[in-house]
Amino acid sequence: MKHFPTILSHEIRMLLVSPSTYIATVLFLGFMGTIFTRILEEYSVPQETSPAYTFFQLFFIPVFFMVPLLTMKCLAEERRLGTIETLLTTPVSTTEVVLGKYSAAYFVYILLWGSTSGFFYILHRFAGDARFLDRGPLIGGYAFIAVSGLLFVALGVLASSLSRNQAVAFVLAFTMLFGVIIGLGFLPGLQALNTELLRPLKSAIEYAQVTQHLDDFTRGVIDTRQLLFYLSGTILTLIFSIFTVEAKLLHS
């Protein structure tokens, strides 16, 4: 892991000069800003749910385009240009390369979400009243973003390792994220899962509801089963990414 810091700092630098990062930033901050404005209007009269809940409710819409934009380039571009060959003929392992690129994308992902905390800071500063802001759900919401982001960014890296075309990597990442966030939500409703044989599968899927996890986090419930779901999913996805890069080398 000697080369991990070198690759990480290089990749962060490359992401910060890449146009797709800025497209992602503008779209993301524009979208979250709109939601925040709506919260300001709605919460002028008391509401039942906390503002943080409303703020994070539609978190998956920016995730759908932001994660693919941040990760589509990382491995697809290296293979398209052939620079993966020069990269892997230095004393660097495939694991270091994939982890470096993954961590850089995750860092920028967190940086972008972190910048939305500015909205709440401004509100806190100018409202001058602590009642408007319930800290618990806010921290829970950001914790959820940080934990689930591990898996989402890993899925983006996997998509990028599967293709040498950035556009294909984008669509692939979008599809995978859609499957995990929305698709898993539909599965428990399937009649086919109600048979005795598939009962364990159904209960497993019921644990893997991303929107349900968000609700729990913003209510302050941090369940180790959910943490385990994201952590194990991330590790598995990254292992698959490393294998994909190496398998494509063998057949290049």
């Binding site: 080369h3 070198t6 240009l81 060959e85 003929t89 063998l250 057949h251 290049s252």
Partner: protein, 330 residues
């Protein structure tokens, strides 16, 4: 055996049933510059990729500086500077940034890196473009960035796949001097299609075709081995069959290798080879002008180029293959 930088024994590589490299064996001594020749698809790039540890071999052993590539790939990679085919470079980095990043990956200590980058930029004549973005450089500059990157960490072994492709004659000269300046200090393998280039820079040439080594040795030795020592071309009118006894009288090893169809005036171009390396032109001229049955119009001594050697060597291996095929059909 300590003086061998690269040892390749019975190397085989197959891709999905197709054999790209078929039982190649060769050695390269320390400080030697080896030229790698072969037609497209002969297995040059595959062999080079296996040497760098980028691709695993199907069978056989490769040792770089005594270390087996298959089991100690990481150690081997520390000892190699590699420039792949088509010289892939990231488009969105500056030249100096790129070299810095590569230097860090190649484990050059931070303190030594900036002076070393300056040195390499000077060596490859890249000082003017050091702050330019690589994607906007011309082909010649990109090529030199690739070479600069390969020599950056001063590795004992440098492997370059077609380093002079796309360069103008002036830049080729710079690259040739650069490679020549590495002679004795580093072991270099270069592949190229530009044969005079190889002839001028390399100590030894390896010609491969269809995944096999078809010839190896110094350019001079190859010439002798494949084309005979010396070739003469005559333009002669008369019966070529009567030429044999006269040639025997001059030098027993003289042989007719090709006879063309007579032109309008009855002259044929006749090529002769001999084992003797000293000048036979005068004797030939005297004997043929003395004989009235022949009219001699021209005589020249042809010095075969590496190109001829290359064509002859690769053709020879094709002949072998087609004979194999015929035997198999029987």
């Amino acid at each position: 055996m300590p003086d061998l930088a690269i040892e390749v024994e019975h190397l085989v590589k197959t891709y999905a049933g197709m054999t790209a490299v078929n039982d190649i064996t060769f050695n390269v001594a320390k400080g030697e510059i080896l030229g790698f020749l072969g037609p497209n698809g002969a297995g040059k790039s595959t062999t080079m990729r296996i040497l760098t540890g980028y691709l695993p071999a199907t069978a056989g052993t490769v040792r770089i500086c005594g270390l087996p590539v298959a089991t100690q790939a990481e150690e081997v990679k520390r000892r190699i500077g590699y420039m792949p085919e088509n010289n892939p470079l990231p488009d969105d980095m500056r030249v100096s940034e790129y070299l810095y990043f590569r230097g860090r990956l190649k484990e050059i200590p931070r303190r030594k890196l900036s002076p070393r980058i300056d040195e390499v930029l000077e060596l490859c004549d890249l000082k003017r473009v050091r702050h330019k973005i690589i994607g906007k450089l011309s082909k010649g500059f990109r090529q030199r960035v690739g070479i600069a990157e390969a020599v950056l960490a001063e590795p004992p072994v440098i492997i370059m796949d077609e380093p002079t492709i796309g360069l103008d004659p002036h830049q080729i000269l710079i690259v040739r001097d650069l490679i020549a300046s590495l002679r004795g200090r580093m072991t270099v393998i270069i592949s190229s299609h530009i044969l005079p280039e190889i002839e001028m820079t390399c100590d030894r040439v390896l010609i491969i075709n269809g995944g096999r080594v078809v010839a190896q040795g110094t350019p001079d030795a190859l010439r002798r081995e494949i084309l005979g020592r010396c070739t003469y071309v005559l333009e002669l009118a008369g019966d070529p069959a009567a030429l044999g006894p006269i040639l025997m009288g001059i030098e027993p090893s003289l042989r007719i290798t090709s006879v063309s169809e007579p032109d309008a005036n009855g002259y044929r171009a006749i090529a002769l080879t001999t084992e003797r390396s000293d000048e036979l032109g005068e004797a030939l001229l005297r004997a043929l002008t003395a004989d009235n049955t022949f009219r001699l119009r021209a005589l020249s001594r042809a010095r075969p180029t590496l190109e001829d050697v290359f064509l002859a060597a690769t053709r020879r291996s094709w002949d072998v293959k087609s004979e194999d095929l015929k035997n198999a059909q029987k």
